[in-house]
């Protein structure tokens, strides 16, 4: 059972690097206007010293850049014979175990940004709403393969409530 603690083993699969790129791009898109506004507006309005305000979103951005990297590295999933394991989080770590037989619904979604980066997100629903089993950053073929496999296994081991 020790393999569950150690999430670096070969059975654990990481999520796509595209997810990290997308999240970093989104971060940059949100923060660049703020940095620019903070740095440029005060000199234009005649209060040059306040240009340092631009540093706040910049620092936030740098921290976010690193945090996203760490968070991305923490995402791991593993398909075992009878259940799916998902591990994630750095500060708040979470490991979710969902037996295939308990799955009520498998959902694959892909938003406009995710499609641009060739990503898809897979979500499992069980009869318990608290089950939080989502894998972001799969390639669409991978997501579809996983969805089909999970559905098949779920049917074979179906247990309901």
């Amino acid at each position: 059972m020790a393999e569950v603690v150690d999430v670096t083993g070969e059975h654990w699969r990481p999520v796509q690097p595209g997810l990290l790129r997308m999240r970093r791009l989104l971060l940059a898109l949100w923060l660049t206007p703020l940095v620019l506004a903070g740095a440029l507006l005060p000199p234009l309005l005649g209060a040059g010293a306040l240009a340092a305000l631009g540093l706040v979103p910049l620092a936030l951005g740098l921290w976010g850049w690193r945090a996203l990297g760490r968070n991305w590295r923490s995402w791991r999933y593993r398909e075992r014979d009878d259940d799916l394991l998902i591990s994630r989080g750095v500060l708040w770590r979470q490991l979710t175990v969902v037996p295939y037989g308990r799955m009520q619904l498998v959902e694959v979604t892909s938003g406009p940004f995710e499609r641009k980066f060739g990503l898809a997100r897979l979500q499992l629903h069980t009869a318990a709403a608290a089950t939080d089993a989502t894998i972001p950053g799969l390639t669409p073929p991978d997501a579809e393969r996983l969805r089909d496999r999970l559905t098949e296994l779920g049917e074979a081991r179906s247990a309901g409530l």
């Binding site: 059972m1 020790a2 259940d83 708040w92 175990v97 629903h125 009869a127 608290a130």
Partner: protein, 455 residues
């Protein structure tokens, strides 16, 4: 996979499976249940604006005013009658179908094999009129899916028929199978109930706060209104904890029948719930501080589909009685063994949660997962392995420092049993083991159609 999609609404015109003239109507008194609220509202407005009413009646004349009132009442009655006519229900071999709605038509098909519980409610006025509300709980069913009101006898027959069909009795025999005989297991006597409610610390705390706080606020703000604003929610809490609880929990009887567990209770409003076997997702045993010397416990159960308000199984009972009852609902579960299996959080957890850490605990037997929490008011949550939907392990930053982790076990009644602050390595291996146990536990679970053994 239709466990969650039990109540399906079809808004379009003529509905399949509902041929004209088939299905039964509700009790003819039904329209009045909404009409009286209207009339009361109108009356309240009238009283509040007594001045205006007087001036209107001066300018229009009393006759016109009464005529307008009569018109409103007629319209309301007409609407009520029409919507009553549009509402029908039908029991088929596999489903209970309910069609409602005059303008927006809605048909709910509730699958009998997904039945989680059947509730019959008789509010005070309904009792006087001999009618009752019936609700069949499936996952996702709401207040729209209750049949209100039915004739009392009809409600009982319908319940018997629904349960007989769900249990797998042959379709021809089901309508006449009648009610399965019930065998009373335990009745809570009123004296114990009163004592138990009086020994609950929470309502006394609120009462005390109310008695102290209200005058303080009154004096402090010199506004009666502010004081009342504080007092009202407190009064509501006191009511819920005290007299209100007494009224709903009065005469609490638990009985057993082949259809499952039966709960009857209530002084003014009589409630009844039948929970078929194998539907209980989790059981919670609560021991408030002042009950412990007497060995009393409260038992709550979680059933998917929200029936049986508050999920009470026993408002108060001696522990051996509770243990015997739990053993009947969840076979192979020994309450004492389960409680003994609980191991407390490690000592270093005191750095995360200083005093209350002693309350947290976790244990496993062959049949259930047990999570304990609470120092003064001790709670044990029992989830049978077969009912576990997913297992989670979470660790916050501080818990990681201390090498601790929380184990969450999610069950099908939309609840979670959490064992906090366990040793991280142990918790990780337990999470993996729990997933295996829940998978294996399912194999020995009772069949869905409990009398004939079909799934």
């Amino acid at each position: 996979m239709s466990g969650t999609a039990a109540g399906t609404a079809d808004p379009s015109g003529p509905v399949e499976g509902f041929p004209e003239g088939r299905g039964k109507r509700l009790h003819p008194l039904t329209p009045w249940r909404r009409a009286w609220a209207w009339l009361a509202g109108l009356f309240a407005i009238g009283v509040q604006n007594a001045q205006n009413v007087r001036s209107w009646s001066g300018s229009f004349g009393v006759g016109w005013l009464l005529a307008a009132l009569a018109a409103v009442v007629l319209c309301a009655a007409g609407y009520g009658w029409l919507s009553w006519r549009a509402t029908r229900y039908l029991v088929t071999d596999t489903e209970l179908r309910i069609r409602t709605g005059l303008v927006f038509r809605r048909t709910a098909h509730l699958r009998l094999d997904r039945i989680q519980a059947v509730d019959i409610t008789r509010p005070l006025v309904a009792r006087a009129l001999g009618v009752a509300k019936l609700k069949m709980d499936v996952v996702g069913s709401g207040s729209d899916d209750e049949l209100a009101f039915l004739d009392e006898r009809e409600a009982r027959d319908l319940r018997a028929e629904l349960l007989a069909r769900a249990a797998g009795i042959a379709p021809e025999a089901a309508p006449t199978a009648g009610e399965a005989p019930a065998n009373a297991l335990f009745t809570v006597d009123s004296a114990t109930l009163v004592k138990a409610l009086a020994l609950l610390g929470s309502s006394w705390g609120v009462t005390l706060t109310g008695v102290v706080l209200t005058p303080l606020i009154w004096v402090g703000t010199s506004s009666v209104f502010a004081a009342i604003m504080v007092l009202v929610p407190m009064l509501a809490t006191i009511w819920r904890g005290g007299l209100g609880s007494f009224l709903t929990q009065y005469g609490w009887t638990v009985s057993e029948s082949p259809d499952g567990l039966r709960l009857d209770h209530g002084l003014l409003q009589r409630d009844h719930a039948t929970v078929p076997p194998g539907r209980v997702q989790s059981v919670r045993v609560v021991e408030p501080l002042l009950w412990r010397p007497r060995g009393w416990v409260r038992v709550e159960l979680a059933v998917a589909g929200a029936g049986n308000e508050g999920g009470l199984l026993l408002p108060v009972a001696p522990r051996p009685v509770a243990a015997a009852l739990i053993a009947r609902i969840l076979p192979d579960v020994d309450l004492d063994k389960a409680m003994a299996a609980v191991r407390p959080a490690p000592d270093r957890a005191r750095w995360a949660v200083p005093v209350w850490r002693r309350g947290y605990g976790y244990g496993v037997t062959d049949a259930v997962f047990v999570a304990r929490r609470g120092r003064l008011r001790r709670e044990h949550t029992l989830v049978p392995h077969a009912k576990v939907q997913s297992v989670r392990l979470t660790r916050g930053p501080w818990a990681q420092r201390l090498g601790l982790a929380d184990i969450h076990v999610d069950h099908g009644a939309n609840g979670t049993a959490t064992a906090r602050l366990q040793d991280a390595a142990y918790a990780a291996s337990e999470v993996a083991a729990q997933a295996t146990r829940s998978r294996l536990g399912r194999r020995t679970a009772a069949p869905e159609r409990w009398l004939t053994g079909g799934r």
